[in-house]
């Protein structure tokens, strides 16, 4: 009996570990190694140590590009948060039987390929698009606005695609919030704003951080959104990486950028870990024992 469990354990854990090692660890290591190799015009890379890839990362012109990409991702996250948080609060005020239905409706568009939906946005924002047509029609503007191929369009597209990734973690955090704590705060004299600021926000912070991570990270990598809505001018980190590998063929630089992104991701996960620890959600009478 024990033997069987042990054997099962060995295979289950062994399989998962080898899967991760083969398809996550090894490729990551390959990328890491590549970032320290030399660029070769014929064979892409040469096995010769070089810091050229990393030097390009710290090139001022690239740093500003990185900054642009990061700030666009941050703005996207802020917009998503500004929409998602009030949305979830409204959702929580609905009878609980309605909530799954609304969340379901939120997910439905995701069954359509995001590339298709970005094309739709492209049509929506174009010079002869729906928005310009409508505004011209009611006489709000005289000539069409330049909406497409602007940072606005990229952020609009990213926010649209990524909004549910902000809503879902916040919803799950909000659902765990003990409503009796809000009663207690009210009892102690906290008004609606104070309850939001001192109780609801700190206790749903893990959801906010998780949602922000799930928006910021893809927002830096979704190159097709920048390609279709931003034109060539407004590139994301993802575009740059893609270009290094496919067009410029500077693999060490591309690899170094990928490593940079992994470091960024790890840093954010660490932030997330800290945030969860900070708002210690254990409490109440069930966890009273030491």
């Amino acid at each position: 009996m024990n033997m069987q469990i042990n054997q099962f354990r060995f295979w289950a854990i062994g399989l998962a570990t080898s899967w991760l090692a083969l398809f996550v660890l090894v490729p990551s290591l390959m990328v890491l190694v590549t970032s320290f190799l030399t660029r070769d015009p014929d064979f892409l890379i040469r096995f010769e140590f070089s810091l050229d890839g990393w030097r390009s990362v710290f090139d001022p012109s690239f740093i500003s590009l990185l900054w642009d990409s990061l700030s666009m991702a941050l703005i996207t996250a802020c917009i998503c948060l500004a929409i998602a948080y009030p949305f979830v609060m409204c959702l929580m005020s609905l009878p609980s039987k309605w909530r799954p239905i609304i969340l379901f409706l939120l997910i439905v568009p995701f069954w359509t390929n995001s590339l298709v939906r970005i094309y739709a946005i492209q049509y929506l924002l174009g010079k002869k698009g729906l928005i310009n047509d409508a505004m011209l029609g009611i006489g709000l503007i005289d000539k069409p606005l330049d909406l497409l191929y602007t940072p606005f369009a990229v952020i609009f597209g990213l926010s649209y695609i990524l909004l549910p990734f902000m809503i879902l973690p916040i919803y799950s955090a909000m659902e765990k919030l003990d409503l009796r704590l809000l009663d207690a705060a009210k009892d102690l004299g906290a008004n609606a704003a104070q309850r939001l600021w001192r109780i609801t926000l700190p206790l749903t912070l893990p959801g906010i951080v998780a949602g922000s991570l799930m928006v910021i990270l893809p927002a830096m990598g979704m190159f097709f959104v920048a390609d279709l809505l931003g034109g060539s001018k407004h590139a994301l980190l993802g575009n740059v990486i893609k270009n290094q590998f496919i067009q410029t063929r500077d693999w060490p630089f591309g690899a170094a950028l990928s490593v940079l992104m992994i470091i960024l991701l790890s840093f954010m996960l660490w932030l997330y870990y800290r945030a969860t620890k900070l708002s210690n959600r254990q409490g109440g009478i069930n966890d009273s024992d030491f």
Binding site: D178, R180, L181, D183, A184, A185, K186, D187, L188, G189, A190, N191, Q194, R198, I199, P202, L203, L278, S279, N280, R281, Q282, G283, G284, I285, D287, S288, D289, F290
Partner: protein, 368 residues
């Protein structure tokens, strides 16, 4: 109770949740400085009364006045009332100190004053050295004390306690009962305590309000409630009681009537204006019954029965007796260690006696 002034007055308060009448035209006056307990089975509306006073629930009709001020216009956060919640509802992301300081901070008390008052409250509940702990690092009893400190530090006119001890184990609960009484005396704050535990109610309260199905059944001191229950519900809910159904034969004098019950003539004491043929319940507490081995009885007023079960309770011996009519009776007697005969065999015939005046006589309510 005469020295107390009315503090809070509920008049004609009703509350209905989706066809379910939880409170039915409730009238209740709470006096300044008293320890009042709302006692009743679950679903009797006692917690709803508390939530209406606190402002979490709005009454459908009726009025709630605190110090001559209508509370209906005051939001929960503005009422000079604080609650100790059943689940304590301590803020898990704040330290003990921050939890207790929360109410003062919300009321914009000066920082230096906050420190003094929180420290004082911590001392009062004997948690001085726990100020920087998080709630989850405390035991159940300590969390309970933080919840109390967090409420009383605001010096409310009225402190509401919602089944606040029910989550604690037996021994801790007894300790906290004494602690609560001490605090109430020390702070001189009016306590309104909600519980379904009659023992807790009897031992802590100045007055008890017995509620059932949204209506007040009886209001009185623990002694009045226990010794003179106003109706069958109160009699049965508080402690154990034996019930005999019978009818009045004749009136003997102003205070005594003759009743026939269990096939015997009983002389009982009552203030109620019963007349002949009125159906009545005669109620007797188990500890008021004395058992005698049958053949020794000379007294005329007694009932006979057979013991069918004995239960040793440490302090007392509880005997279960079946009367000739089938009525079952419990008698609870203190041990007399010097009496070698103090013990009963099963199926032994015994006589039940009591002192006239210890019984309670109520008008007949319904058969069961």
């Amino acid at each position: 109770m005469t020295e107390y002034q009315p503090l809070l007055q509920l008049s004609g308060v009703s509350k209905t949740f989706a066809d379910n009448t939880v409170l039915d035209a409730l009238d209740l006056t709470i006096y300044d400085g008293e320890f009042l307990t709302l006692l009743g089975p679950s679903g009797c509306g006692k917690t709803t009364v508390l939530r209406i006073i606190a402002g979490f629930e709005q009454e459908d009709c009726g009025s709630v006045m605190l110090d001559q001020q209508n509370l209906a216009v005051l939001k929960a956060e503005l009422r000079p009332v604080n609650t100790v919640f059943q689940s304590y509802a301590l803020f898990p992301h704040m330290t003990v100190y921050e939890n207790i300081a929360f109410g003062l901070k919300m009321h914009k008390v000066a920082k230096a004053d906050i420190k003094t008052r929180v420290d004082e409250a911590l001392r009062m509940v004997r948690l001085d050295s726990f100020a920087q702990r998080k709630p989850h690092q405390l035991s159940g009893g300590q969390q309970q004390r933080v919840a109390i400190a967090r409420a009383v530090v605001n010096r409310p006119r009225l402190l509401l306690l919602d089944e606040s001890l029910s989550a604690l184990d037996y021994k801790l609960r007894q300790e906290m009962q004494i602690e609560l009484k001490r605090l109430q005396r020390q702070l001189n704050i009016t306590f309104v305590y909600v519980t379904h535990d009659q023992e807790e109610a009897l031992s802590m309260s100045d007055r008890i309000v017995v509620l059932n199905k949204g209506k007040v059944q009886q209001i009185g001191t623990p002694r009045e409630i226990y010794e003179n229950p106003a109706n069958l519900f109160v009699a049965r809910f508080i402690g154990e009681i034996n019930q005999f159904d019978g009818h009045v034969v004749r009136r003997i004098d102003e205070q005594h009537v003759e009743v026939v019950a269990e096939g015997a003539d009983w002389v009982v004491k009552t203030d109620h204006p019963f007349v002949a043929d009125d159906k009545v319940h005669v109620l007797l507490r188990p500890e008021d019954i004395r058992l005698t081995k049958s053949e020794l009885v000379l007294d005329s007023v007694h009932v006979e029965g057979h013991i069918y079960e004995c239960s040793y309770k440490g302090k007392t011996l509880d005997s279960y007796i079946r009367l000739a009519s089938g009525t079952k009776v419990i008698a609870s007697e203190f041990f007399d260690e010097d009496d070698p005969d103090f013990d009963y065999r099963l199926e032994q015939k015994v006589a039940l006696q009591w002192t006239t005046g210890w019984e309670v006589v109520l008008p007949y309510e319904y058969a069961n």
